[in-house]
Symmetry: C2
């Protein structure tokens, strides 16, 4: 828990430089444009503790796994988000003294993430031994529409004349701090200069995966109106632009660095050279000020659909904007090969890019804040990886087109390295099916079922049908050896959530097959042919679904998280000494596994997804039974609990959970923001507002609102995409005002009453 | 399954050289003397597939673990049996052609392990392009009483004159093939020659653990009566003795290599140089022939107590002698710091030296075949490591002197690297307590309880008392999250075996405390003081023991391996296609974990230990229920099942299991002998004879015999150590003849009838 970020509605601000907080700030102030991004590392050399990281969307490395004892079916590799060419580096020395904030204590240091405009800004003053005071002002951004472009501006002014040397460089000798065997993941790294274009370059490719990258940079330095000539040079894996000048007191040095980073995800390597030159040349011609304008416009377009305004609570306001900002700089939704890494471009932890977080948390966010294409691309990502999911299942011994989507992946192959997760945390398959339902329910894009969705549902239903077995003892179908969302338990039998979502998947797949058979017989025929699906198979899913076992305790009248849950020593979290929290830091894994403590919503995750299957009393009972044992040591926990707390009318708890989720990184609540921000849980924050406080649901193709604001909030205002409409929603006290700002006339259900919503006419309700 | 070893009662013989079998043979023909040993690698250079390994007792390396995701309480390192200086190397070339059996196909190749004398012998002929035929004859042994001494003799004869060059070397640049990060485990490796003594040497020490080693060698070469002069040289990490001579047809070259390998386990490093010179000098003075005599005598002393004679079944005969031989060359029992590595000196797999195999399998063997000191030393090993066992438990969150002995260890610290084993396979604690009971019951050394045993029992009972928890649901004490002996299940609740042995431990510890309080109040006082034991604590053990939960199914009338066992799909092993066996090779770990298949005795291990707690019908019921699902994919499985099969009168199955255990490595049944022999399971083989076919038990201080020989055996004859007596036992058909060959007059119970056994008078019964 930290509290050094200044509360401000549009900016993340750090005042004063504390090296102990630097790695946390490097995460928090990260910038990106969905294609590339990086941690808020300093441009100038810094010899203190830092985690240097520049990342390129889709570029990964299959690191050898660390497995104590390999067994059949273990994944072959653990894919790593790859630390790529460092393009921000600008070393500076003044009268021969290196500017290094680890050695020179800056004055008036401020680091600012301007979320409205997508800018990383920093300024400070240093004083040299001769009394010379130099002011530094840095601005950096990853251009939000020119996706390959990064831009840096530096301004320096001094109180005395001094000699400056500047070395603006590209560095290809970058390592992943989390490499399992300290390997260098790049090969064929070369560097040089296009002298005529005045551009230096570094070219390299990844070992094994062979991703090719070319980065080029052009730096321009001027004092007053005088352009300072530079010299280009290159060494092993590194290219540099050197400047030496006399900075006169009263004058300002202005440096601009234009960088293009190309990958073969988006460009033909044969054209790299031309494109890098033309991209940089176009940027130079446009000029810094105009590029900045484009950046501001680009972010304004995003905020227009996605912004949330909270009146009366600046901490909450800053929290939600930070979450939305980070999500949009991680993923823009224009490429179905990409997904949302758990740390986005803010760190390398957790390796691979795609977890079930995407389906369970991120898709609802993008559905509400962006074009349906974005969510559709996230679904297509999984559709494209269906053959790999079938392969994953085959590696474990499943057959006949059963699909097990990976827990962690880059290209569809499983690449986590713990059996208790890869083999067992299979509920992810359910979330992937649920996302199809969610997408169609929200967008109304029913065609997606026939074109893509049903094939995925069939693969998933087949998996579940093979994964259960008939228990002669229970006379029901059971599911043995799983890990639920609560990863503080491994290898349990009959995790209620997994059994429930598996059962739902089989029913949903069967229903959709039957529906499509009537609605579009030829489409269904084609799918049956392609997937070799028989009617017996569909009947079998229904049979299993109707005979599934769900652990239940009649004394407590609750479903049990798994068989034997009540054998545990049940001590509420409130009785744990604070000194033992978080338990994952203070307890052995042995103790955690055997304890009753729940890392994140497990049974309650099922209540969240399938709320209409349970009455209000069941919600209250299960929330009260499980929340008392929940330690929320996953970033994904507080958001679900906030939504459910709202649902059962516990608004105080809902607000408490909201603050925890929305400021998780800003306050470094889990003490791990130094590794990167919790990007996917940020989508959960958005859900606490939309599904929680605003009480938004989609039922039978209509939006429903049941808002209940926290007492601390004067009003809540936001835009929401829903089908053809964009709504402007303003909630204050008990009143709701909904404006259908674009799209055809429509209606919505507000507090249970259907309201006509003609275009542009605000409609109020209470 | 392989069948290339010639059946012979005293020898292991390989006729003809097949490179594909070489690594298996390297394991099978391993030699050692309890202090050092090595795989049957060729002395001459061999460029084919080989696993080179020379090992020194007690010298290990704490290799960094491979853990995908480190969690609190995981062991810091995985101790590795260390491949040490290669002292056997003797490179030979003939007229410039290297003798390398990967390139020159030998004729008349024979490799022989002479188990009676403890010799590795090998001979073959090679023919060169000029028609010259050279005969090679190798003999090698690790001297059984001069523990630091290794001896090699080579004889070469040629049909044509030829030039021989010989390079006899010591090589310190040796790696562990199973190093987790391809590290070199040695440091400060230097080499040189003591010119005056004609001895070359290599000195080195292990990284981290700092074990110091000095190896010295002196090679003597003579043709006829002519001694060939050599030259000494040394390079980096390697020292050599070179010989060059004209070998005349009709003459025999004789080479003798005397090697001393010293470690600081047994010698002061400051004296290494003197000792290595004096050891070698004494060996040279004694001469090869006399050393050979000593070797034969030394092994005769072992066989006198330990040999087993099986008439009418040479395969069975060879099997049991191979097992006994390997055990005695692995562990002699003269040093309580040593233990019995799972591969002995035959390979590096499984890392650390000590598993629960020692207590469950090896101690009964050494009790019956060697002085009680040997078993006592094995118990003292654990006694000395009690403080580390308490530390191990503390790392997991236990307190108050609770002791958790490690699953795998070198120095008492846990050093396996899978949580499902280290945290969970805690039944090992029970076996360690059981061994104390077993030792005292067998030897009558009741003083051991007060002097050492009880402290260990108290630590173990304390662990169990904290490891269980009260289940409000079951109104019993339960034990959650364990792995039983059947490692094909992980993280189960209420493994019956673990609950049973835990319960027994608590009862036994409490009984012994109460007994000692009466028998020797001051001793008990001292122990209570030292361990801060209260009477309430002892009462609590009894309370838990009396209220322990044991999973039971009343329909089948069997104890259940764990909660939920009957939820599995129960298909007998006999219904599995042969193509899917062994399942550990053919199935994913996911499929194995969820299956009903049992790797080794689990519930039945409890019936084996606590047989008197269950009636004959319960034995039969449980054997029949569980054996059908048992795949015996642990080397430790068939022996226990053989003993139990005998007990329930299923002699055919008992014999089938006997062959499987006794010839496990000779026939490479598990297809992994290439990695090393299964040393600890060899003690299980001995138990199948003593406890199985001979039906030997110790009850109330008396030996009981209830023999039942397999039909294939004409007779079974063996010696048995029991307390002050050595018995000679001859069983043939239904008759038993027992001779009390040394020690006072005594009695034994044969087939239920007590017989007086005066010294030296054979007593017959039937």
């Amino acid at each position: 828990m930290k509290d050094y970020i200044k509360i401000d509605p549009w900016n993340i601000i750090e005042e004063g430089f504390d090296p102990a907080l630097h790695k946390v700030s490097e995460s928090l102030f990260s910038i990106g444009n969905g294609r590339m991004g990086q941690r808020a590392n300093f441009e100038e050399s810094y010899s203190g503790k830092t985690l240097r990281g520049s990342y390129l969307a889709g570029v990964y490395y299959p690191d050898k796994t660390r497995v104590g004892w390999w067994k059949n079916g273990y994944p072959e590799y653990f894919a790593k988000v790859l630390n790529s060419v460092n393009w921000i580096g600008i070393d500076i020395s003044v009268d021969g003294v290196a500017v290094d904030l680890a050695h020179i204590q800056p004055k008036g240091f401020q680091r600012k993430l301007n979320m409205q405009h997508g800018l990383l800004e920093r300024h400070y003053t240093i004083e040299l031994q001769n009394g010379n005071q130099l002011q530094f002002k840095w601005t950096r951004f990853c251009h939000i529409t020119r996706k390959d472009l990064g831009v840096i501006r530096l301004e320096i002014a001094a109180t005395k004349d001094c000699e400056l040397t500047i070395n603006s460089y590209l560095d290809g000798a970058v390592y992943n701090q989390d490499s399992n065997y300290d390997e260098f993941f790049w090969e064929q790294t070369s560097a040089g200069a296009y002298e005529k274009a005045g551009v230096v370059w570094v070219r390299q490719q990844t070992r094994k995966t062979g991703f090719k990258v070319l980065a080029g940079a052009k730096t321009q330095v001027q004092q007053g109106s005088e352009m300072i000539p530079g010299t280009l040079s290159s060494g092993e894996m590194r290219a540099e632009e050197h400047y030496r000048l006399l900075l006169k007191s009263g004058q300002t040095l202005k440096l601009e660095k234009y960088v293009a980073v190309l990958t073969d995800m988006y460009h033909q390597p044969a054209q790299f050279e031309d494109i890098v030159k033309s991209t940089i040349s176009a940027a130079v011609d446009t000029g810094f000020e105009q590029l900045l304008e484009e950046q501001i416009h680009g972010w304004a377009d995003i905020w227009k659909q996605a912004d949330i305004l909270i009146e009366g609570d600046d901490a909450a306001q800053q929290g939600i904007r930070f979450n939305i900002f980070q999500l949009f700089q991680t993923y823009n939704g224009d490429d179905a090969r990409l997904n949302i890494g758990p740390k986005g471009f803010t760190g390398e932890k957790y390796g691979g890019s795609t977890y079930w977080d995407t389906e369970a948390y991120c898709i609802p966010f993008y559905l509400g804040t962006a074009s349906p294409e974005v969510s559709r691309n996230l679904l297509l990502y999984r559709y494209q990886q269906l053959p790999k999911a079938i392969e994953n299942a085959e590696k474990l011994g499943f057959s006949g087109g059963a699909a097990l989507y990976p827990m962690v992946t880059m290209n569809g192959e499983e690449c986590h390295n713990e059996w208790e997760i890869t083999f067992e945390e299979i509920h992810r398959n359910g979330a992937i099916a649920y996302a199809i339902y969610d997408y169609i329910n929200y967008t109304g894009d029913a065609d997606y079922m026939a074109s893509h969705g049903l094939e995925v549902l069939i693969g998933i239903a087949r998996f579940w049908a093979q994964r259960v077995n008939w228990s002669n003892d229970k006379k029901k179908f059971v599911m043995l050896g799983v890990t639920g969302p609560n990863e503080f338990e491994n290898n349990v039998n009959n995790n209620w959530y997994t059994n429930y979502i598996a059962s739902w998947c089989m029913r949903y797949a069967a229903e959709q097959c039957e529906w499509l058979k009537t609605a579009n017989p030829s489409a269904m025929n084609a799918i049956s042919g392609k997937t070799a699906l028989s009617t017996e198979e569909v009947s079998n899913w229904k049979h299993i679904q109707a005979n599934m076992y769900f652990p239940f305790d009649s004394d407590q009248n609750v479903f049990l998280q798994q068989d034997g849950f009540l054998d545990k020593e049940l001590i509420p979290v409130s009785d744990l000494p604070a000194s033992q929290r978080p338990i994952v830091e203070h307890w052995s894994w042995d103790r955690i596994l055997r304890s009753c403590y729940i890392k994140q919503a497990d049974v309650l995750q099922g209540f969240y997804f399938f709320e209409d299957d349970f009455d209000a009393d069941a919600h209250r009972r299960h929330f009260d039974f499980y929340e008392q044992y929940t330690v929320h040591e996953s970033s994904l926990s507080p958001c679900i609990h906030s939504i459910l707390a709202n649902k059962i009318g516990n608004h105080e708890k809902a607000y408490e959970f909201y603050l925890r989720t929305s400021r998780l990184d800003l306050n470094d609540i889990n003490n791990d923001t130094c590794d990167g921000c919790h990007i996917t849980s940020m989508a959960g924050t958005w859900m606490t507002i939309s599904k929680g406080f605003a009480g938004i649901r989609v039922k039978n193709g209509k939006l429903h609102f049941n808002p209940a604001l926290p007492n601390q909030w004067k009003s809540l205002t936001f835009n929401l995409r829903f089908r053809e409409n964009l709504f402007y929603i303003h909630i204050a006290g008990d009143g709701v005002q909904v404006t259908n700002t674009s799209g055809p006339d429509t209606s919505a259900v507000i507090n249970g009453i259907e309201k006509h919503l003609p275009q542009s006419n605000p409609v109020s309700a209470s």
